[in-house]
Symmetry: none
Amino acid sequence: MGTPHSPRSDTRARIIEVSLELFSEQGYEQTSLREIADRLGVTKAALYYHFKTKDDIVLGIVERMAAPIDEIIAWGREQKTWSPEMRDEMIRRYADGMAERAPLLRFFHENQPALRESPAGLAFRERVITMMQLVHGPEAEFRDRLRATMALFTAHTAFFLLKQDTVDGGDVVNVWGEKVPHAELDEALEAAREVALEISGRITGHPARDTD
Amino acid sequence: MGTPHSPRSDTRARIIEVSLELFSEQGYEQTSLREIADRLGVTKAALYYHFKTKDDIVLGIVERMAAPIDEIIAWGREQKTWSPEMRDEMIRRYADGMAERAPLLRFFHENQPALRESPAGLAFRERVITMMQLVHGPEAEFRDRLRATMALFTAHTAFFLLKQDTVDGGDVVNVWGEKVPHAELDEALEAAREVALEISGRITGHPARDTD
Amino acid sequence: MGTPHSPRSDTRARIIEVSLELFSEQGYEQTSLREIADRLGVTKAALYYHFKTKDDIVLGIVERMAAPIDEIIAWGREQKTWSPEMRDEMIRRYADGMAERAPLLRFFHENQPALRESPAGLAFRERVITMMQLVHGPEAEFRDRLRATMALFTAHTAFFLLKQDTVDGGDVVNVWGEKVPHAELDEALEAAREVALEISGRITGHPARDTD
Amino acid sequence: MGTPHSPRSDTRARIIEVSLELFSEQGYEQTSLREIADRLGVTKAALYYHFKTKDDIVLGIVERMAAPIDEIIAWGREQKTWSPEMRDEMIRRYADGMAERAPLLRFFHENQPALRESPAGLAFRERVITMMQLVHGPEAEFRDRLRATMALFTAHTAFFLLKQDTVDGGDVVNVWGEKVPHAELDEALEAAREVALEISGRITGHPARDTD
DNA sequence: GATGAATGAGAATTCATTCAT
DNA sequence: GATGAATGAATTCTCATTCAT
């Protein structure tokens, strides 16, 4: 014990991976279980061995993918009092590693109607709200809450503006239809962090009070 | 006689109204034509008398509802050269009247996967892109384009944060689950305009050049 | 009176014309009333002013188009006794004027399942049977009945083999995909008559007996 | 054990069987998937487990049923040069076993409009054309091509003239409404072969040349 | 002589889900 | 761990037909 001595079924992991990929690209409703199964080279029934329902797959996605966000939240909670420095550090940590987080965020962002009622949707929404509360601090007024929201959104919006629609092999095309050299991607992430901090920088907050 | 002959059947208009309502509340995929027909007290086939396809209803929605946005675009185009004043005026006009525009924006915002390929989706996306270009001006760099995007998003995000999920009769509940007195709504819109202008205020642009 | 002094509605006639055209090209089931109405520049409801049902249009077609066949039948009945000469004259008369008759025959030939039960279908089938009986004469045995059938079929089969699928403007394309110069059409009709007579020529019949 | 394991589910085969039966009796358009499913005692969805589309069922029919025709074609191709003997042997082989082939031929013969564009229709039409080409030999003139067509048609026309519409229990009724004793059926097939050979016998062809 | 608006019935198809093996 | 076969419920859409105007 201690050592994971058998790989067991990595199918579960692959289902999660592929599902997120497809859900994020085409949408939750637009992706059928057959499609997921086909891409994995298994049958639909196999999916049901690992997950009770389609929605349950989403729950699996959240569980496996939300860890980095939970870490940010955990860090935020550790800081006993809210401060502008902590606020900006939250934003920075969120903006960093956006590249890996993007599919998950895109998925939840663009599939609100399908997920609104689902346990997975609720689980995720809760995290987002917590993040925002930590950014704007306790008892914030509407203006600050809005700023916190927009600062966080900015990070992935930047990413979607450069969303990767591969056109004729590997080219990144932005939302305006222009081709984007790969170099710009880093530049964009840099810009995202900057603009997000601009927005969060206006948050006044109540530094004196507790985070919770 | 004397009175202008009333439109023989306003069914078409009512279909558009009800559809937008349902699409915006529940999502495009989650709303079936049966539901729309039922709420209107007609049969599904009646919908097909007025619209060739479900997607065609969305096109109808865009045509009837996008007029105010087209007006803003038209105004923007009239200004022959880009300037910070014009930039902010665009934002102000967009933020005003957000209350009526909200369902349309929410609908497009939350149903991207379903509309991405559709004619209606393209028609709308085009408008959004044009709006953004007018806000950030010609030949803008990524940072400014991102700011323009976020400034516009801020307007309706503010609205969604206060989205009206009637719980137990008529109460407005915000995204954090708090009940919101109606008074706050105006306050929120005011805040939205302010924060949006904060963001757009950072756009440098190239004032010398033409808008197009 | 006596002179047709007002054209009245020629719409009825045009419906019949266009319907036969479409039914013959695409099939009865494959042709919707909307299609017919559209091509005529009227509404579906207008069709119902002139005909009680879709099937009634077919009846109209038969009534207006079957006259030449009725003439052949009438001629056949006038000949009090069956004879090889009369047999061949029937075939010749049938083969002549095939060009105009073709759409009607094609229509009935290719839409059997749809017309089997319909009054129009029965009305037409009756004529065909009568024609065949006149060709093979009374109390014929199966072999002769089969020959009569094939002789008559030959006439329009020849036509279908050269059926007019206009490819890139006016070219006639036969069933083997070859382009056919217009000259060949007359040649084909000539061949049809010849082969049909070859087949009917084998019919022995019972010359002594009455036609009926 | 010992016995070859029986095919797990013969549903696919039964779908093909029943579909051909119904398509041939009532026509392709006139037969709904519900009807097929009902007669099989399964649900419509079960059909979709085995076939992607209604048209795909037809493809299945062709694949399973066209084998005997393919064999005749294969035999024809083996004969390196065309000859009157080969021509007549083709006809004989085609006429034999007409009893089993009849539903398939009737189906394609009477449902041309529905199948014209479909893959299954094309697959079948191709076979028919190949058959005809083998019968009339290479570079035939129109007259001979027409004769080949009619000779082949004769075989199943004979069958349809005696088509089995069971009226009041089991009686065979021909196209003229007469009851037909079962004995006549063999007689009819014999007649069909004879008349078909009469027609093909007139084909001159170009014996010197290759079949292809 | 015709239209605009609507309907009822039914069609093909899709999909998440189940279960015996 | 997974499959093959099947289901039930729904969905979009089409079509002939009706009828008040």
